[in-house]
């Protein structure tokens, strides 16, 4: 099972590190990362494996949402199936 983490906001130092650390704390394996910075707008999409989480999925979500609030970034964590079903036939 995989989930997609998106992070959007003003670019600052260490965003990738902080988000990755939060994933590690819940034992979510990072499979793929793409990021771009346009002017000072930071956008990152991360694909993570949630099959072997050390906590449940909502604890991971809450952890990342709290991190988002703390560092002033908009973070979403959603199961990959919603994107697959919406955009693939």
């Amino acid at each position: 099972m995989k989930a997609v983490v998106t992070v959007v906001g003003k670019d600052t130092v260490g965003i990738l590190a902080k988000v990755s650390t939060a994933c590690v704390e819940h034992n979510a394996n990072i499979i793929d990362v793409t990021q771009s910075v346009m002017k000072d707008m930071f956008t990152m999409v991360m694909l993570i494996d949630i099959s072997d989480l050390s906590t449940d999925f909502s604890a991971l979500q809450n952890g990342l949402y709290a991190l988002g609030d703390k560092i002033g970034m908009k973070i979403h964590v959603m199961h990959e199936d919603i994107f697959n079903s919406m955009h693939h036939i």
């Binding site: 998106t6 694909l47 999925f57 959603m78 199936d81 919603i82 697959n84 079903s85 919406m86 955009h87």
Partner: protein, 452 residues
Amino acid sequence: MLNTKDIFETIRMIDDENLDIRTITMGISLLDCADADIHRSCEKIYEKITRCAARLVPVGEELEKMYGIPIINKRIAVTPIAMLVAVSGGNPVLYAQTLERAAQAVGVNFIGGYSALVQKGFSAGDKALIESIPEALATTQHICSSVNIGSTKAGINMDAVKMMGNVIRRCAEITKDHNCIGAAKLVVFCNAPEDNPFMAGAFHGVGEPDCVINVGVSGPGVVRAALAKCPTEDLSTIADVIKKTAFKITRMGQLIGTEASKRLGVPFGIIDLSLAPTPAVGDSVAHIIEEIGIEICGGHGTTAALAMLNDAVKKGGVMASSHVGGLSGAFIPVSEDAGMIAAAENGTLSIEKLEAMTSVCSVGLDMIVVPGDTSAATLSAIIADEAAIGMVNSKTTAVRLIPAIGKQAGEVLEFGGLLGTGPIMPLRNDVSSEKFINRGGRIPAPMQSLKN
């Protein structure tokens, strides 16, 4: 592989364009709860609903978190209660109270099925149930009621139409201190679908399985946002954009429906492909019409634009779902749609235009507030007109009118929540239909019914 553009498109639809699952509705058959003793029957109903739907709300909340998509309502639809009244006799309001207790116990937003199907005539229990609707709706909070008074196959039961005019008035009168809310929870149908997940008209038809999950999606805001990117394109392109958007919306409903059915261990029934508006800004069907190019919804051209919208939504949605059912089309409830409210307030949108619109969209005259002195016969005549449109066009039509007791055209009723704000719309044609309604009897089924 997922691409970033698609991911952000989905997130934008949910965050900015009000995309949501309007409802997961569990249909529960109560046929095995019927008992000659009404108290015993009520006990069985309570036991069955609280057993079948025990996990409905928690599962809905789990899915919301998992997929990051809001699921606004969790609802239950049951077998038309008139059938249970037929077996047990007694005061039907006892059933309403039982359903209310069960709804509160499992935490659902609404429970529908305080209903009777009388398109061809009344059987045991039907009249008693219909007469009890005002009291049942006034003394409960979560119950919705519907009565099917006509169909393409059966024609229109004009005795029932006459009764319903009185019932609607009575519903409004006894809840007049609460914005006449009773009438907002009652729908009169022609060709009622048996698997509709939307309220107030949801009930669980007799041809349905014992327990089933139906899903209603929403998403007018998403369609409007997609159209906003096509300011000058021709209507073939516009129809295409609507289809593609409807496809995406429906795929999400399909995902939630199949996942909910798996987790609850209940078969998946249908997706209702409806564009259901809410009073929230940016979640309006009227605004789609306006985006297509009518200055204000209700202006000339509205019916054509709505016909195209309704058709394109179906075409896009059909391929996205394994089973489509319910009402499936665009809803035009006046009080629940910010654009409709504005158009009604400035007088562009009239009840006559709405009636024309109902001949091409999925439901009917929905959530329309009329002056408090509107007579029962006039309400009945409006029902008859609307039912005739449904009967002849082999489609569902419905009437949900709220007479604003003690108020006049130009004032408003504030319902709050999903029900919104209802500007009181004038009935321009104030002639009497009394003689027609008092004739009673049945309007015979039209030629369209003879398909065999």
